[in-house]
Assembly symmetry: C2
Homo-oligomer: 359 residues x 2
Amino acid sequence: MTKSKRTRPRKSTAPTMLHVAEAARVSVATVSAVVNGTAVVSPALTARIEAAIKDIGYKRNAIARSLKLGKTRTIGLTVADITNPFFTDVVSVIQEVLHRAGYAVMLCCNDEDIETQDDQIQLLLDRMVDGLIIAPAGDDANLKRILEGTNVPVVLIDRICDGVDTDAVVLDNQRAVFDATTYMLHLGHRRIGYISGSLDTSTGRDRLAGYHEALDSAGIAFDDELVRLGNFREADAYKAAMQLLTQPDRPTAIFSANNLMVIGVMKAIRDIGLSCPEDISVACFDDFPWADVFRPQLTTVAQPVRAIGEQAAQLVLDRLAGKTENGPRRLVLQGRLMVRNSCRPHASLVQGAREHGAL
Amino acid sequence: MTKSKRTRPRKSTAPTMLHVAEAARVSVATVSAVVNGTAVVSPALTARIEAAIKDIGYKRNAIARSLKLGKTRTIGLTVADITNPFFTDVVSVIQEVLHRAGYAVMLCCNDEDIETQDDQIQLLLDRMVDGLIIAPAGDDANLKRILEGTNVPVVLIDRICDGVDTDAVVLDNQRAVFDATTYMLHLGHRRIGYISGSLDTSTGRDRLAGYHEALDSAGIAFDDELVRLGNFREADAYKAAMQLLTQPDRPTAIFSANNLMVIGVMKAIRDIGLSCPEDISVACFDDFPWADVFRPQLTTVAQPVRAIGEQAAQLVLDRLAGKTENGPRRLVLQGRLMVRNSCRPHASLVQGAREHGAL
DNA sequence: AAAGCTAATCTAAACGTTTCGAACGAGTCA
DNA sequence: TGACTCGTTCGAAACGTTTAGATTAGCTTT
C-alpha cells in the first residue's frame, strides 16, 4: 500500500468530507477549510471543492462536529407543561430568538414532576447542550447537585429554586398579586377567596404573599378558610373552588393564581349555579388571547411573555458569547393588571354609591 | 514508553471512559461492556468499575455514542405554531410517548413559513435525528427533495403534502366540516360564512371541501362572497370576518376553519356591535378546554389530539424498531362535533316552530 | 502432557469532524 | 546561490465512544 488515500467504494451511507476530498482531489483539511471558511484556500481549489460538494450532495455531520468542538449549538429547555399557554408563549419566543442565533432547541416537559425533570435535565446534559433554560417544577434539592456538576450556562425562568444560583428572569409575582387583590379590595370585596399554586414553587409562595400583603395593607384580617391549594392545575382548582363556594360564608370574589386553575374555578361557579360577575367576581394570573372577547371578560394579570422569553434567551446567549463573566443576574419583570369585567363592585359599595346618588 | 496506558493528569473536562478505565485498572472496552451491559464481565471487575464510575462521577457522552452508533435517540418535531393549542396538545402527547420510549425531542416552530421549515428540517437531519414528525406548513416542493435524500422515518401529522409519500396521521377534515356545516344548515341557516385556512395546505382545502359538500347535499347554491381567506391566523380572520359582516346581505352564521381564527371572528362580531349567538351563529374547527365555561360556549369540531399524538409517535417508533417494512401508512381519524350554544336556529325556523306551536 | 474449549479481558480500528504543525513551492533579498 | 519569507496545502492526531477480533488464563478431554 503506497499512499493511505485508497479510494473507498462509496458506501451507501451519507457522503462525508472524505468523499468530497477524494472527488476534488484534495485533503480533508482543505475541505474543512472551505466548508467552514476557517482558512484561506486558493480560488481554484475552492471552486473544485464546492463543485464536488454540490455534486455529491455533501452535508456536514453536526454530531461529529459537536464531538470535536465540544459544543452542540443546542439549548435545552424544560418546562412543566407545554399545554399551558403561558409556557407556550414563552417557549415560542425563546425558540425564535435562539433559532435566529443559530441554536437549536431541545424541549422537554415534565408535567410538574420533579423526578422527571431531573432525568430530563441529566439527559440534556448528557447530550452536551450548550446551555439550559429551565422553568423548574418545584423546589428540588437534586437540581442543585445536578447543575453544579456541569459548567453550562443555566437560566431559570418563571420560578427560581433555592440554592440554585444562576441567571434568572422572573416576574414580580408578589407585587402583581398585591395589585390585583388591592383592586378587588377597592371594589369593596372583603372576603376574597384565593386558589393557590403549589407552595413548593417560588411562584406559588410569592403570589400568595402578595395576597397576604394586600390584605394586611387594607387592614383586613386573614381568614384561613379562604385560601385553598389548586396546585396550578384545573382539576385541583375545581375542587378547591367547590370547597370555597360551599362554605357558609362564601367569598364574594376569587383570585386564581394561574390560567389553568381559573378554568376550574369557572367550572365550579357554573356547576354550583352561580354566575360571574353577577354573583361572584373572579380574577386570575396569566392573560388569555381571547380574554376580551368571551364572557365574562376576565380581569387578569398579564405577564410580559415576549420579554421573558427574549431576556431568557439573551441571557444564555450572552453567557455563551462570554459577554458576562460576573455573578448571576436576576431579571425581575412587572406584570400588568388587565382590568376587564369579571369583577364587580361589592353589593355594599353599590349600595353606598346609590345612597350618594352616584349610580 | 513501555505501555501506552500513561496516566494523564485528569484534565478539567468531564470524565471519560478512559478515566474510569484507569481508575478501575481495566480497559475501556470493559468499561463500555459494564456501562451498556453488552458483554459479560466478572463480578469483581464489574464492582470495581461501578465504584470508579460513581467515584469519578462519570456520565456517558451521548454525542460520542451517537457518532459511533449512527443514531441519536432523538426525534425531530416541527410544527407551524407552538402557540396554537391544537399543536400544543399534540406536541405534548408526542413528547410524552417518545420520552417514555427513551427518545428526546427536538422541537422547531416555523411560524407557517415554508422556507424556515425547510431550514429546520435540514438542521434536524444534519443533527442525525433518528426520525422526523412534521406538521408541514404548506405545499412544499422542496420538502420532497430534502426528505428523499435521507432514509430516516418521517411521519406527517395534521396536514399532508403532495408528493411526500410517508406515514401520516390526519383527520377526516372534509367529513368533520361537512358535519358541522350540515348542523348549521339543519338549524335553518342558509347564508353561512366560511373563514378558510390557507389553501396551500391540505387542511385548508379539505375543510373547505367539506363546506362545499354540505351545501351541495342540501341543494344550496354556493355564494363566493361567503368564503374568505383567514390563513389560519387571528388577524387575517378578523379582516375576513369584517368583510363578511359588512356586506349587504350578511351571513347568519360563520364557520371558522380553526381555533386561532375564531378569536378574530368573535372580535369582529363584537366590534361591529353584534352578539353571538343572538345575532349570528358561530362554530369552528378545534376545541378549547374552556369552551364550555365561557360564553358564548362555542360549538366546535374537536380533534382527538391525544390519539393523533400517540399514533404519530407510535408510527415512528414502529419504523425505528423495524416493525413495519411495508409502504406508507395513512391513519385517518374522525373529528367530533361538540354542540354547545354558539349556534341558534335561524329566525325562519323559529318562526316556523312558533307557528306550529312548538315554542 | 498436548490439544481443545470456554470465558473474560484487551487491543485497536473505526465514526466524521477540526486543527496544529509540518511541508512545499515560489518569490524576495542579500 | 543560499537563506528568508509567504501563502497554500496536507498529514495526522485528537474528540469519546463501540465492537470485532486477538489474547490470555483456566479447564476439560484424551
